[in-house]
Amino acid sequence: MEENIISFKATLNGLILVMREEDDFDVIYESVARKLETSGRFFKGASLDVKYRGKKLDSVQQNKIASLIAQKASAEVKSFEEDETFNGAEMEAEEPDRSSEKPRMRLMYFKGLEEGMTRFYKGTVRSGTLVSYQGNLVVIGDVNPGGEVIAAGNVIVMGSLRGMVHAGADGNKEAVVAALSLQPTQLRIADVITRPPDTKQIRQGLLPEMAFVKDDLVFIETFLPQFK
């Protein structure tokens, strides 16, 4: 329950400190200190506009937390004020909605398939792990069953892809999925969802393949001439 006391949300030029109304100031202060102890390095050298919500603080308390952030995170706190754009009703709706991690379908989808922002993820994506990016995504390693890889652009797996993969997650049907061994639990490109047939096929060794969408159907092809 510890981590529920406070949470940080990143904004464009700062962060929002979300608190719970029912907690004492001392409890909040303690957990801000603890949280910064572990994740404070992230803000090092930054200058932040900090806003808070969920609980009213008086000016003494504001100063205490502001200087705590400045000190623990080695960051400059440009301002520290209550988040007024926020009202209580929104909190209920927004708090549990962490699904914004998963990119939503949009009219303005990611178009940098040829030359765009790319994230490189090194290591195995194990069960329960979600690796996502608002661009192309390259996994240097395997994706195990239960692992999820979601990208707004292409997904390339330099290993065996056995988990769930979603390319073009915000709507780009041109996105492709390629892997050295393509055996996903489920494969999605934009809003097209497929799964492998129930009959088990036994395949040995690595066979690099690429999946793409044509006429709302997913096609899978080898892309190396020697395997054709």
Partner: protein, 266 residues
């Protein structure tokens, strides 16, 4: 008259998920409309045991957060009519769902289904509290080991504290040969400690491993002793009186005959 039954144990690895899959399948086979809910968020297994993993699009967390309607998240079983699965999320954690949300969800599903079987995660924390929130009845799974029985005892206490009276006991992975040698707790030993009603005893059966790996519940395997035990349990859940399979003492007619003739039964 629909019912929410939670399958719980406290200890991990005693067979909650296997039990959920088999009881759910058994109830569906007997013509009931059944939905299985996996509440083990972050460590989901029920979809794998049911062989439905690759059909998951939405999950329990999506439903409670309102990203989709309940009907969109329900996965129809590929073999049995009237059997549905509501899978857990894998990349989230137990705090993504609150007990009140589970209560509301169970209430909603009750209008549609005859039985709602909730697969509870191991432990007594948030996941357990979520799983039991909407339940009308509970089945406590244990194996004949002191550690599992100790945890089952704790669970029975917690269930009673949460107004879930008269939980039923399911003893899993019983090995009559070991009980006979005195190396394993007997059914009576376990009931002595837990003092709750027995719903059934499932023998240790290699076929369970095979069926779990294949993603096909063993209950429909006529040759599997565990399958037979689960079929009896399903009938008991539906209110029938079914005699218990013989355990602990003998394994069948041949053993009895041997003993009768004075031969050492092994």
């Amino acid at each position: 008259m629909s019912e929410v039954i939670v399958i719980t144990s406290g200890k991990g690895g005693v067979g909650k998920t296997t039990t959920t899959a088999n009881i759910g399948t058994g109830l569906a086979l007997s013509g009931q409309k059944v939905v299985l809910i996996d509440t083990d968020i972050g460590l989901r297994n029920l979809d794998v045991v049911m062989g439905l993993e690759n059909r998951i699009v939405y999950d329990l967390v999506d439903v409670v957060e309102g990203n989709c309607r309940v009907k969109q998240a329900l996965i129809k079983d590929k073999r049995y009519d009237g059997l549905y699965l509501l899978p857990a999320a894998q990349t989230r954690d137990k705090s993504s769902v609150k007990p009140q949300q589970m209560m509301d969800l169970c209430g909603e599903l009750k209008e549609e289904f005859d039985y709602i079987i909730v697969d509870c995660p191991a432990g007594i924390e948030q996941g357990f509290k979520n799983a039991i929130a909407g339940a009308d009845r509970a089945i406590v799974v244990t194996t004949p080991e002191v550690s599992a029985v100790r945890d089952a005892d704790r669970i029975v206490g917690l269930l009673e504290a949460n107004e879930l009276r008269n939980p039923k006991l399911l003893i899993n992975r019983m090995r009559s040969d070991m009980v006979k040698r005195g190396d394993m707790m007997s059914i009576d030993d376990i009931i002595d400690i837990l003092a709750i009603g027995l719903v059934g005893v499932v023998p240790d059966d290699e076929k369970i491993v095979v069926s779990t790996n294949r993603g096909e519940p063993a209950i429909n395997d006529q040759k599997s002793p565990a399958g037979q035990a689960y079929r009896n349990i399903v009938r008991r859940i539906k209110g029938e009186e079914v005699p218990y399979m013989t355990f602990g003492e003998d394994q069948g007619f041949m053993v009895k005959l041997k003993r009768l003739l004075g031969l050492k039964a092994d």
